[in-house]
């Protein structure tokens, strides 16, 4: 999960706040739907991270989608 290849950057342009807010809201919805705490499976987290990458990856630095 914490490997360098999973590190994401969001450019500090005018939209960075908007994108960060949207991503945090999406993760909150995920935690609401999956209240597993520390027992959450790594695969579930990775699958959702991939969804986030698909939605927002074109905005990351470097773009990943």
């Amino acid at each position: 999960m914490n490997s360098l290849e999973n590190l994401r950057g969001i450019p500090q342009d005018i939209n960075s706040e908007v994108h960060l807010k949207a991503i945090r809201k999406r993760w909150n919805d995920f935690y609401d739907a999956n209240p597993d705490g520390p027992n959450m499976s790594k695969q579930k987290l990775l699958n959702f991270a991939k969804q986030i990458d698909n939605e927002f990856g074109h905005l990351f630095l470097p773009p990943i989608r």
């Binding site: 500090q12 807010k21 945090r24 809201k25 993760w27 909150n28 739907a33 209240p35």
Partner: protein, 146 residues
């Protein structure tokens, strides 16, 4: 029928290391919340699974006799050392108290929770929305309940 509003509220940070959470319950029980802010928060915001309100908003809710914010508990908070100053360009930092509150799925109350397409959202009455509009809810996504 009175108009109601749906809010997908701000998520200005994440739980910090001093949080005490019990995941034997669904939703998880939070006995103490330590929030690490990434940016200056709205007056009502969320950190799953709890909702948090500023002391000033909470006082107004109580003074006006609005219902739905239950069992207010003081939280502790700090700022994210790595990027708070980068994200919060104006350098504004939170100084007031914040309370985590319980909100039920009771549509009769001024503040309630509603499930929409498996997502949990805050639902507020017209008079609660009028109050919220006089506070900072800039980062909430707002729609009218159809």
């Amino acid at each position: 029928m009175n108009t109601k509003f749906i809010l997908n509220v701000d998520v200005p940070g994440e739980m910090g290391g001093n949080t005490i959470i019990d995941n034997r319950f669904n939703p998880n029980k939070v006995y103490h919340l330590h929030l690490v802010f990434d940016q200056y928060p709205d007056d009502i915001f969320k950190c799953s699974p709890v909702y948090i309100v500023s002391e000033s908003l909470y006082n107004s809710v109580i003074d006006l006799g609005l219902s739905g914010l239950h069992n207010a508990r003081l939280i502790s908070y700090s700022l994210n050392d790595n990027h708070y100053q980068t994200i919060q360009h104006d350098g504004k930092i939170p100084t007031q108290n914040y309370f985590m509150v319980d909100i039920n799925e009771n549509g009769e109350e001024d503040f309630s929770l509603i499930r929409i397409n498996d997502l949990i959202r805050l639902c507020v009455s017209d008079r609660a929305f009028r109050l919220l509009s006089s506070f900072n809810i800039d980062n909430a996504d707002i729609s009218e309940l159809k």
